[in-house]
Symmetry: C2
Subunit: 133 residues, 2 copies
């Protein structure tokens, strides 16, 4: 209770899968890093531990961001939107947010009628996920 999760959970309207989208934003620069999904337990674990947890829809399990890559997100502040169906997470991202090795996931943009890559990986997926050979 002391961590605010009861209040947040009662304000949230989860979808039919028990999930809400959560936007992660770097707290000091304003960079939008990624969007992922949270269930009740991910909200609780995030507020309780101060480390961002999501629900992995592809792996169908709780996902402590950075658990395999080391690229953890420390929670700075959790916000709830007007309708209670979206979260905004102000975070401090260690390293890179994107599994491709880029700082954020939104590295393709429409420019002059083309979808172009606007950011390069700063680390390789091998470095992130350990191709230790």
């Amino acid at each position: 209770m002391g961590d605010g999760s009861a209040a947040v959970l009662s304000a949230l309207r989860f979808d039919e899968y028990g999930l809400v989208p959560a936007v992660a934003q770097q707290h000091d620069t304003g960079e939008v890093l990624m969007l992922a999904w949270m269930n009740r337990r991910a909200v609780e674990e995030t507020l309780h531990t101060g480390r961002v947890h999501y629900w992995s829809r592809s792996r169908n399990k709780l996902w402590r961001k950075g658990e395999s890559s080391g690229q953890v997100q420390r929670l700075v502040e959790l916000r709830v939107d007007c309708d209670g169906d979206t979260l905004l997470l102000l975070v401090d991202q260690h390293g890179v947010a994107c599994h491709t090795g880029r700082r954020n996931c939104f590295f393709r943009a429409v420019r002059e009628g083309q979808l172009v890559e606007i950011a390069k990986p700063v680390v390789t997926p091998g470095e992130l996920y350990g191709e230790k050979g």
Copy 2:
């Protein structure tokens, strides 16, 4: 083709309702304004007109942001995430993004274990939606 919508649509993976979440961010300040949903037509109309369109899940229709409130969003840049299942819209928001009259929708935050309001409306819903009496 010239507006990039064909490239974007082929990069997107819509959900079972034909939608993707779209995060709107004020292009110059970095403020995250809101999250709403887009279908194929909303993406096309947004890129074609330069004014942001969403799909309203509550009204089940195309929604040109600001059509009733006047609080339009001009598109500055559209970005696609790594998995093609989320959009980031850099926009220039006229007035307020939130239907409550607040600048953005994320006006509730966990602070000291409580969910507290951190922003007040800058206009009333009556002013936004016209209680002209």
